[in-house]
Symmetry: C2
Subunit: 366 residues, 2 copies
């Protein structure tokens, strides 16, 4: 199985390294040998300097997708275009695609799913949610006999790291964010994480697998309500240190919680800074840990937790998806029915709220 | 797909009910319709009185296995024989088998795996560990690209319920056990749970999937060491209320922990009452909850948690396995290499211990 890797960022580097250094460990008992057939990067000279094999490098990812010498495409470039078109072209050509790109799946999932189903090409994206934590496959396959009611989770490590550091170190948001950038836990432009876009994208993907419906990520509420004239700020950008300290006095931790549940009218979904009881496992999910909880019948409640980010951990999911492609394992949605269009999420109704000193109203989870 | 269910206990009843009442919800988009083709019970009159369809009932499970009118066998009788022979005969005849029987897999797994592999018959047993919590499939498939180092977990709900009640209610072991029997959390003969046999069986199955080796369940240490003349008692039977209270004073909870890790000499495995830090999620896994933690490279550490017992929750895993059989999903070990014989586990070396007032030495996990 000749594998083309598009993108050599933090996840791509780990996937490339595994394919080069330990291909035998990636060969299932009933699967084919894997061969790294090409790597698409933006800057070939830099990739060569980083030790990548020059003979495999190209700066034309579309050539790798179209090449008769590649069998499977691993898309790790991230972002919208050209990832969207490259994935669509590969699927249309019958080449299985493995990706970790939550943006492209959340925004174009229905279209890409249709392209994959049209000619039965496997499309796998376990790495898009929770890094290496197995969660999408288990929801789609292992929980397939359940009616699932609700999902909630902490799915963004950057914001959880920042909120945890604010609480334990008693430092304000801006200080901790600046440190997180230096430590590599936050990007130079952190808005995708701190304003809740990344978590909303992941929620769209979780909802697709659990509830069989693609949501429009832009329709997911990301800003809490707030008393006074100003509206609440999105994601964690309005979470103040006094809010966190006042919540802690009431045995609550402020966490960015992605949550969705089914109603007869549609799917209620939100990504909101929430006040979570410290008696709950979710409230004690600290630092860069992720935790995803799923409620259903007859299963009750199950949870998946671990480190939800980082190139090495995330490569675990990408590589397992590649192995599944080799074993004819189908797509991440397993036996779930097709979902054909993105619909708007319903905003949550007001619930019990913790009002911080800033006036922000945090939904309470206990 | 014509399904025969052998056994109508707490799990069997829920599986039968789902197959009768909601077969459409069990049909994958790319899978066959499921039809309940037969039910084997010990007492037909009692099953009829319980509302089961008389036309489907038999007290001869071997006939259902041999019948040309059954395609898949769901073995939920539990115990050793006749389950072992029925499973072996079905697999040899090319009929896929789904089971929740941890005893028979732990004791005869190598033989049954060989029978399944001989002619490629699917053999699935996700329900054998953690009830409905997806854990075996995720370890075998989603974590396939990792080198797994260690597993630990709370995998027996009965003993965790008893230990939790002792700690929170301040009541001695015998009292709580008596109540647990009345409440249905413990069996009339509780030795399988309280002496650690059930947890050892589950550990054998986890080790098979994570480390590729069947262990002899009898070789797994289940009794802690103890100062003085008497040896430690197996499982939780020697855990005293003063031990639990003294541990709590040191921020430790006594939990029955199943643990295994790889060494160059073999697999170290044990099921021991252990003193777990209350700062760890494992130490705060209370009541009938289960939690299984897996460490590996590159994944780091991931955990699976939820209600690990009960007929309804466990039926979730049995039914998902049936759906996987219908979708040609292979066996629970997915692409893992064959494991052909049961070997002895290595006993753990002494580690930091908490010595309770009873003299029992509890390994410390923090």
């Amino acid at each position: 199985m000749r594998v083309a890797v598009l993108g050599a960022g933090s996840v791509g580097r780990e996937v490339i390294r595994a394919l080069m250094e330990r291909p035998d460990t990636l060969r299932a008992a009933d699967g084919p040998a894997m061969v790294l057939a090409g790597i698409a990067v933006r800057d070939i000279a830099r990739a060569v300097a980083a030790g990548m094999p020059e003979a495999l490098l190209t700066d034309a990812p579309a050539h790798l997708v179209a090449s008769p010498d590649t069998d499977v495409i691993v898309e790790l470039m991230g972002g919208d275009e050209p990832a969207r078109t490259l994935i669509a072209v590969a699927l249309a050509a019958g080449k299985p695609v493995v990706t970790a790109n939550k943006h492209v799946i959340a925004h174009h999932g229905a279209e890409l799913e249709a392209a994959a189903r049209r000619n039965g090409t496997p499309f796998r994206f376990e790495a898009a949610v929770g890094g290496g934590i197995p969660v999408l496959g288990p929801i789609a396959a292992d929980l397939a006999a359940n009616e699932l009611h609700a999902i909630r989770g902490i799915v963004n490590g950057t914001t959880n790291f920042i909120l945890t550091a604010m609480r334990f170190d008693g430092r304000p948001y801006a200080d901790v964010l600046a440190d997180a950038k230096v430590a590599g836990y936050a990007e130079a432009d952190p808005s995708g994480d701190v304003e809740g876009h990344d978590a909303a994208n992941k929620l769209v993907i979780l909802v697709r697998l659990a509830f069989g419906q693609w949501l429009d990520p832009a329709s997911i509420q990301r800003a809490p309500s707030r008393s006074g004239a100003d509206p609440g700020l999105p994601g964690i950008t309005g979470v103040s240190l006094p809010d966190i300290e006042a919540a802690a006095d009431q045995n609550l931790a402020i966490k960015l919680v992605a949550a969705a549940h089914r109603t007869p009218d549609g799917i209620v979904a939100s990504v909101l800074p929430s006040a979570v009881s410290l008696d709950l496992p979710l409230g004690r999910t600290d630092g860069v840990l992720n935790r995803i909880e799923v409620d259903g019948t007859p299963i009750g409640s199950v949870a998946f937790s671990g480190h939800g980010a980082g190139g090495a951990a995330t490569s675990s999911a990408v590589l397992a998806d590649l192995m599944a492609v080799g074993r004819q394992g189908g797509s991440t949605w397993a036996g779930r029915s097709a979902a054909a269009s993105h619909k708007a999420a319903i905003a949550p109704s007001p619930v019990e709220a913790f009002i911080g000193p800033s006036g922000t109203a945090y939904p309470v989870i206990r």
